[in-house]
């Protein structure tokens, strides 16, 4: 999704990782993790796409696979073995498990291998951080993004709705768009006045929230965590 809709975010990811002291490459044959089809109930189609990406990742000799999207990281680590089990491909299921062991979400990786140091954050910057569902509840990554953002010198908002689902949910946002928007609104209405931006580690959530903010004429910048760290 990043390379289609937000290559700038991708560039930020690369720079942030380099600043932390790592070499970065994107394997040529990685396409998509297959999650959109998996979530819609189309396992065969999801497996077809996921398999391509999985084989590309399995063939790559990198130490770690950093995924700058909580939902994709969760798809690979938590759901790929199940996806291939369900579509009857036991071998792929096993490969998926070993690939999953190398996967880390971006902030999870940075929190562990930190050294990125403070970014050039504006003095009055306050970040309302959105915890995306897969990252929070499937990967159990909760403190890492907040720690990494704080270390970079940003204040974090006290956002009571920060852990509630944004309402995107893939095809849900198309099939029940009114509910999807209502869920975004509830989060948006609870963003503290003092927040100067909204950040998150899942582009799909961010685009959904950004689109709703724009429709409501609310002027609040929405950024990916990598962009915050890449200042």
């Amino acid at each position: 999704m990043i390379e289609t809709l937000a290559p700038n975010v991708g560039a930020s990811v690369v720079r942030v990782l380099r600043n932390a002291g790592y070499d970065v490459h994107i394997p040529d044959d990685v396409t998509c993790c297959g999650q959109p089809a998996w979530n819609a109930g189309f396992a065969t189609e999801a497996a077809k796409v996921a398999r391509t990406s999985m084989e590309a990742l399995a063939a790559d000799d990198a130490e770690t696979i950093v995924v700058p999207a909580g939902s994709c990281a969760a798809m690979i680590r938590v759901y790929w073995p199940e996806l291939f089990r369900v579509t009857g491909d036991e071998d792929a299921s096993l490969t998926a498990t070993s690939v999953g062991e190398k996967v880390m979400e971006l902030t999870e990786f940075l929190a562990e291998h930190s050294g990125a140091g403070p970014a050039e954050s504006p003095d009055d910057a306050e970040v309302a951080y959105h915890h995306s569902c897969h990252m929070l509840r499937e990967l159990h990554i909760e403190s890492a993004p907040e720690a990494v953002i704080s270390e970079a010198g940003y204040a974090l908002s006290d956002w009571p709705m920060g852990r509630q689902c944004c309402g995107f949910g893939g095809t849900f946002s198309l099939k029940l768009p009114e509910v999807s928007v209502a869920m975004a609104d509830e989060k948006i209405d609870a963003i503290p006045e003092s927040a100067t931006c909204l950040a998150g580690s899942d582009l799909s959530c961010l685009i959904h929230l950004e689109a709703r903010l724009a429709h409501r004429g609310i002027d609040l910048p929405v950024v990916h965590t990598a962009e915050l760290l890449d200042q």
């Binding site: 938590v78 759901y79 073995p81 199940e82 089990r85 299921s93 498990t97």
Partner: protein, 219 residues
């Protein structure tokens, strides 16, 4: 239908279900884990009193049976008690004369006698649970259910030595407590009746008693 006809499709259907790789079920533990509480408990009696009071129960202490008299007197005044029904629990044996002496009409607890108009129900308790602030009423001991249920005020007398720490002290020793099986109705009562069904507003005193008093004897 007959039992076997009901169970047969279940037996047939119960082949091992598919095992999910995302959130697999852990194996059943050999023993059910004990309850571990965040706050330590010093003394079951004080903990019981605190938790019961937190539920709206009036808790009083009596060193012995004689000490029940002032408690009943206080209760009768506070709650405007004119009539009472007493269960057959051993803890309140002999209390009838005390109540009569205090000017309370004692209505017999027995088949066909209408206790719906009585002000106070008095029972003993087979025990109490400190962590939940509950008293335990055993219908066979009490001789029935209504005394702790129908009148708007309930007084339960419990021996301090019968106060246990947690539900586990009851539920993990049922076979020891009741070697021939549990009584027809055992109830853990945790405070006066309540509902929050109307706009989540707590209202005390719905169908069961509105007021619950517990007298702890022996300490």
């Amino acid at each position: 239908m007959e039992r076997q006809a009901f169970l047969r499709p279940i037996e047939t259907a119960l082949t091992a279900p598919p095992v999910s790789k995302s959130h697999p079920i852990p194996p059943a533990p050999a023993e059910i884990p004990e309850l571990v509480f965040i706050d330590p408990m010093d003394d079951p009696i004080t903990t019981f009193a605190d938790n019961a009071a937190g539920l709206g129960v009036e808790v009083r202490f009596a060193a012995d049976r004689a000490g029940l008299v002032p408690i009943i007197d206080e209760l009768a005044r506070n709650e405007a008690i004119e009539s009472a029904v007493l269960s057959f629990d051993p803890e309140i044996e002999g209390l009838e004369s005390t109540m009569v002496a205090l000017g309370i009409e004692v209505v017999p607890f027995g088949s066909g006698v209408d206790i719906a108009q009585v002000d106070l129900g008095v029972t003993g308790a087979a025990g109490a649970i400190a962590r939940t602030g509950s008293i335990v009423v055993d219908s066979s001991r009490a001789g029935g259910r209504g005394a702790s249920l129908v009148p708007p005020v309930h007084l339960a007398v419990v021996e301090s030595a019968a106060i246990d720490a947690t539900t586990s002290d009851w539920w993990r020793s049922m076979a020891e407590r009741y070697p021939s099986g549990p009584p027809s109705q055992l109830v853990f009562i945790s405070g006066p009746s309540r509902s929050a069904d109307i706009e989540q507003t707590l209202t005390v005193g719905v169908h069961g008693p509105k007021r619950v008093w517990v007298a702890v004897v022996g300490r």
